[in-house]
């Protein structure tokens, strides 16, 4: 029983830059969210994507706007990499009418149908069959659309994963299952939930190719995504990709993180996907530091505007409350 481990191919500099920009946008966005959360501007819980950006980005770079994704409460990174705008995301985070969901969805339910984002989900695993349904629909309508569903290492133990991947395999649906293995489901370490070393093994029982990839290496993710998405688009059915990664923030803001050591977190911070990519870029780009500075400036500016947009957006009113139930 073997899973295939994908080693990185090289990306050209233009693609590296595209990926870097997206990853940095996600990182800064997530950092801004924590600030806004601390200011008491958000309800509920905030689950940061920090540390996992290469995954959403490597996949996003391989997707068209018309392709579909579903993801989790940790889903703003996926949304940004799929074309969502920061300002509408932030407005949603703050529960304002200009948010993607007019303030009714919130952080756990980011949806942007025009961008093929069929919903972040607050129920572990529940987005998986929805993506499979979108893939079914694409196949039915004979488009070449592909669906990607992102979920965690914990989610792979929900029954519905098993039901959905079996049907995807059975009907050769154009869907890619992306398990972001960040070693914890909430506060429970992976090895207390499964015996597997590699979760990609879970594909075998359904005849689905299982691939392990370093989720902190953009190039590795990009190429695995490229293969799996191309395969799906060509009508050759689903793939299960396990992207090994780590969330460097707590499960949610305020998590006491008593379940892991500072050393462990530090070790993973050294493998930060953005740091790694920067090291690559430094080799490729003579003026990397200038480039970075400019880019950071642009992103900061963009984010400041987005925050302002969100803060100025009005809260929904009682009339909105009763709309869109049926």
């Amino acid at each position: 029983m073997n899973v295939q481990v994908k080693r990185p191919n090289r990306l050209n500099i233009e693609s590296l830059k595209v990926g870097y920009e997206t990853m940095l946008r996600i990182r800064r966005f997530e950092e801004a969210c924590i600030e806004l959360y601390k200011q008491g501007l958000m309800g509920g819980s905030l689950h940061s994507y920090t540390g996992q950006e290469a995954i959403a980005t490597g996949f996003g770079m391989n997707l068209e706007q018309t392709d579909y994704i579903t993801m989790t409460y940790r889903g703003r990174g996926h949304a940004i990499a799929k074309g969502a705008q920061e300002k509408k995301l932030l407005a949603e985070m703050l529960g304002r009418v200009d948010g993607y969901c007019h303030g009714k969805g919130g952080p756990m339910h980011i949806t942007s149908v025009e961008n093929g984002i069929l919903g972040a989900n607050g129920i572990v695993g529940a987005g998986i069959p929805i993506a499979v349904g979108a893939a079914f629909s694409a196949q039915y309508r004979e488009t070449s659309q592909v669906a990607v569903t992102y979920f965690g290492d914990g989610a792979i133990n929900q029954g519905v994963f098993h039901e959905a991947i079996n049907m995807a395999a059975l009907w050769d649906l154009p869907v890619v299952f992306v398990c972001e293995n960040n070693l914890y489901s909430e506060m429970t370490p992976l090895h207390e939930s499964v015996k597997n070393q590699n979760l990609a093994e879970r594909g075998f029982g359904y005849g689905v190719e299982g691939i392990v990839v370093d989720g902190n290496d953009l190039e590795a993710v990009y190429h695995a995504a490229n293969e799996a998405v191309s395969k799906a688009r060509a009508g050759k059915g689903p793939t299960l990709i396990e992207a090994k990664t780590y969330r460097t923030e707590g499960h949610m803001y305020g998590d006491s993180e008593t379940y892991r050591t500072k050393e462990e977190v530090e070790a993973w911070r050294k493998k930060d996907p953005i740091l790694q990519l920067e090291a690559r870029l430094e080799q490729e780009l003579a003026d990397f530091h200038k480039y970075k500075q400019e880019l950071e400036g642009r992103i900061a500016q963009h984010l400041t505007e987005a925050i302002q947009f969100a803060k100025e957006s009005p809260e929904p009113n009682e009339q909105d409350l009763f709309e869109g139930v049926l």
């Binding site: 069929l118 929805i130 629909s137 519905v160 049907m167 869109g324 139930v325």
Partner: protein, 322 residues
């Protein structure tokens, strides 16, 4: 007019709508070549092929979720849960996903999806195959919940459900499938959210759904012998509830009996009591009565099962006691 069975009527509805709209796709267990265990999808596989009539594995949470994904992306899936009891394995997708998707997305997307299923006791199927769970789903904002009682409504309401932009839980009854009724050959639909006064009366209003509508009618017939004139309302839609039709009747008769196969406690009868006493308090001459299944799991023994379920005589007795 010609008479056909409830099952045939449903089959015609599916057939006609599928002919009209290529985006309608059926998903469910044994619905293909076999035509469904209650024959509702008979011949559809032959006519529309495996692409549009999809036999699924026994993975209800999975394929209801798929229906949602398909409904969000241009299709109009009609999914089948073979028995409503099995909806329990698909509950997350129904309650947390299908019902909430439109609202959570801020109205970005409609979910034009039908979940067909059937309920009811009376065949000795035991505790896991006899429940009437419509009231559980009626609690969930974002779902329409309907239960036709006869072939005419079955066909007309299923057509409306398929055309509806909202998710509809369409609840059939296992003991009605092979009962017959008049169904015109011409195109028609029945709106989903209107109750129907199927018998006019003066002394008491009996409101029932699904198979219990027939019990209510029989009871009304018997009460007539005793000089009691009962109005019978087929509720049709459990959610939303058509209070206008109900209140008009209640204000005339001033007495109400509610009849359902769901367990008495926490069933839809309670909701109707709450609304009627609120809207027509001064009209009520006597407490509203409920005739419903006892609050015990359905026993296998046919004898006990009969004692659990509402019977015509229970309705008669309750009305006479008012």
């Amino acid at each position: 007019m010609r008479t056909i069975t409830y099952s045939e009527a449903l089959n015609e509805a599916l057939h006609e709508e599928m002919q009209k709209d290529g985006n309608i796709v059926l998903l469910g267990e044994d619905i293909g070549q076999y035509g469904g265990v209650f024959k509702v999808t008979k011949n559809l596989f032959e006519e529309f092929g495996a692409k549009r009539v999809v036999d699924t594995p026994i993975s209800e949470n999975g394929f209801i979720g798929m229906g949602l994904g398909a409904a969000m992306t241009g299709l109009r899936p009609v999914t089948e849960l073979m028995w409503i009891d099995f909806a329990m394995v698909a509950m997350d997708q129904i309650v947390n996903q299908v019902a909430k998707m439109k609202y959570m997305s801020g109205g970005q997307v409609n979910v034009p999806m039908v979940i067909r299923t059937q309920e009811g006791a009376g065949r000795g199927n035991g505790a896991q195959h006899s429940q009437s769970l419509e009231s559980m789903f009626a609690q969930v904002p974002g779902l329409k919940v309907v239960s036709p009682s006869n072939p005419y409504d079955a066909k007309g309401m299923l057509k409306s459900a398929i055309r509806d932009e909202a998710p509809v839980l369409f609840i059939e009854n296992k003991l009605l499938y092979f009962t017959k009724g008049e169904v015109p050959e011409q195109e028609y639909t029945v709106t989903l959210d209107k109750a129907s006064v199927i018998r006019n009366g003066e002394d008491v209003t009996i409101i029932a759904n699904s198979r219990m509508v027939h019990f209510a009618q029989e009871a009304a017939e018997e009460l007539k012998q005793d000089g009691i004139s009962a109005e019978v309302i087929d509720l049709r839609s459990i959610s939303p509830i058509d209070m206008d039709t109900i209140l008009t009747s209640v204000k005339k008769t001033c007495r109400v009996v509610l009849v359902h196969e769901a367990h008495r406690s926490f069933g839809w009868g309670a909701e109707l009591v709450a609304r009627i006493q609120k809207e027509a308090f001064d009209y009520l001459d006597t407490p509203i009565e409920r005739v419903a299944s006892e609050d015990v799991p359905f026993p296998y023994s046919l004898k006990l099962e009969k004692e659990v379920m509402p019977q015509v005589q229970d309705i008669v007795r309750v009305v006479k006691g008012m």
